[in-house]
Amino acid sequence: MPERIRHAPLGNKKVKQPNAEVHIITDQCKGCGFCIKFCPKKVLEESQEINARGVHPPKILDESKCIICSFCTAVCPDFAIFVVEKPCKEERHIKHD
């Protein structure tokens, strides 16, 4: 539908917000950068620190953007990253009544 959208959504709908906790096992990382490259929400970036294997492991840029697709776990050759869902906070619920 071609109308241009000018107003922000009113936010009345309940949306379950993914509540992710990203774990990086830094010393297991060999710095291939796959997780950074393939993360669809760009949650990760390369850090400045140097790990036991002498490379820069990834660091978390913005955890709240993570949607727990776990694609990083799937592409990591060294099993150095995984995501868990934190016990649920409250649902985003701004319904007016």
Partner: protein
Amino acid sequence: MSEKQESKPQNGGEEIRIGVYVCHCGLNIAGSVDCDEVAKFAATLPNVVLAKDNRYTCSDQGQEIMKSDIREQKLNRVVVASCSPRLHESTFRKACEEAGLNKYLFEMANIREHCSWVHLHDREAATEKAKDLVKMAVAKVALLQPAEEVEVPINRKTLVIGGGVAGIQASLDLADTGYKVYLVEKEPSIGGMMARIDKTFPTMDCSICILAPKMSDVLHHPNIELLTNSEVVEVKGYVGNFQAKVLKKPRYVTKDCSACNDCTEVCPIIAPNEFDVGLDIRHAIYTPFAQAVPSTYTIDMNLCLNKDNVIVCDKCIKACERQAINFEMKPENVELEIGTIIVAIGADVFDPSVLPNYGYGRHTNVITSLEFERLINAGGPSGGHLIRPSDMQVPKRVAFVQCVGSRTDRNGRLYCSNVCCMNTIKDSLLIKEHWPETEIYVFYVDIRAHGKGFEDLYKRARKEGVKFIRGLPAKILEDKKTHNLWLIGENTLQKELYKMNVDMAVLSIGLEPRRNSEIVQRLLTLSRTQDGFFMEAHPKLRPVDAATGGMFFAGCAEAPKDIKDSVTQASAAAARAGILMAKGKVTVEAITPISYPEKCKACGLCTKVCPYNAITLDKELQQIKIVEAACGGCGTCAAECPFGALTQSHFTDEQILAQIDAVTEYDSEKKIVAFCCNWCAYAGADFAGVNRMQYPPNVRIIRTMCSGRVAPKFVERAFARGASVVLVAGCHPGDCHYINANNHTKDRVERLWKKMEQSGLDKERLQLLWASAAEGERFASKIREIQTIIKRVTPEEIHKAKRVFEKALEGV
């Protein structure tokens, strides 16, 4: 498609007996043309055995006179000088047939649209022009040959483009009659604009409640094949035998979907829902609204994380119990064979953010009427609670601003959008129904309550306390703290300024042609009016037919209209399409090429220019072969042939040259010889006539089916006979009714320009104009513009051109 005709130019034996009828058309023609004098002049022309003038030639009486003359005076050719052949050629052709004369032995001189109406104040010049036009018609008619039309079977299937209420109604009507219908909709669900509206005026019916059963009927009707998420990408063929290609985009969800909504709950992607104009959210996997048909969900690949077959996120796949999600779906090309097409693409709404004074997009509480519909709708983002966006509170004072984007020559459209007045009145009553304390102000220019039951609704709104204030606000200002709005303007009835404080303002936005209507126009070779809506074949008598045979309009594609009118027009379009298909066959005009094999050198140029690939070259036999059934009748092949081995039936070289010679017999140095294509330029000149656009009377129009028929030798002949200026006019590039035949027009004119330059001639004397059927003013102003060229063309220049092109005078 005609019977093979004699290859000889003219039959020697038969005596040619022409009857000429000059029509007064009441005072339409007689008001500025001396018809009696024209008839007397016609009687002096060669082969004319009788010439009469009468009040209305098209009346029963007028036709009877013509018919009895054909029988008694043994007329074998007839000329009627009256209106445009686009209007009454078929009427007179039928009369000729009834009197036993082949209908291809009839010719019209257009002395109304092209003469009396455009030269209202110059009786002498208009009469002279009418004489010339009659002379041209007489010259052509003498050379006409009888022809038989071939009947082609019609495919009894219809393609309906657009699944709004108009498309739905047209599909259901045709399907109920028993014809197969393909309904193509580009969105994932049918329903269109009507599905988004809360209530309908004037009866206040719930919109989706009356539409949803129809949508479901469409889905379950055995004669309807519904193609959603699909677009028509190519249409070929002609009336009764179209071939359409439809691109069916993948939904990535199969028919097994039970619309349980489990997938959207897990989908992590959130975006504004277009259906709710962004006031609500949706996920990458979604259904636009609860009553969507088909109810199968769709994945929006612009949002989904799984691109190019890489499954990054599999949440929906895991959530779907019925395993209905399939990321490997591919776009499909569906090829359809159809007989008729109904265009029901609807309209878009005006975007008021181009009007800075109303602050739409900047002031949170300024919304459009479409957003209001979603807010007041129980299925909408606020569950039917009227809230204002800034604080989600119920507004106490609401203003409606009318004519936003309509009836204005600045930042908007010139026309009235037809629905906004009643829509606002309906909306104000909806607010009053639920929140009677709300103060409502409607700022208007005129309230147009023209339909059945509309005035009653307007009265009811006033009775309920809705205040109508004449005078649009000049500006809407926002209080930064409270987000309340100030409307400042002038009450033109009381001649005083107002400054009104309201909680929310609703802009009553107008309707616009679809932004993709240009694509549809090119796809189907339709015409559009200056407003941008599609143009009907005749505004009064054929209001749902397109000028192109076998195509019809329904709904807002043709002009803004409300639901009732859209449904009415849709049923009309279905009936018109049904009439064509019920006959089962259609006759195709006998205007196909005629070849003279003895002149053919088998160079193959004609095969290259034919837009329909209807001519093939047999290299071994050194012959061309014409597939008449595939021919569209543009005549480009005849114009291209350098050896005169091809000509077009009913528009032969001799006939057109005879017309040119008739124009240039006297005073040629003051005249413009214009070649106009039937569909755009000639129709545009007709349009100029209908709208009484005045232009100088020295132009003489020769009609060809396509500007591609204009052979260089026609232009050369006109110059060789001393014409001052030659105008070649056709459809805009890309709008050609014969696919791309007018590209060759451009090439030929450019070659002629080059030749003229090399010979030291003023190349401005050959003019090329692209004008659509709606661009009457463009045509008229071109003729005015050409006058300055005529003034500067000297007798020496005319002589020089005569010498340069003298070869063109040889033979025919």
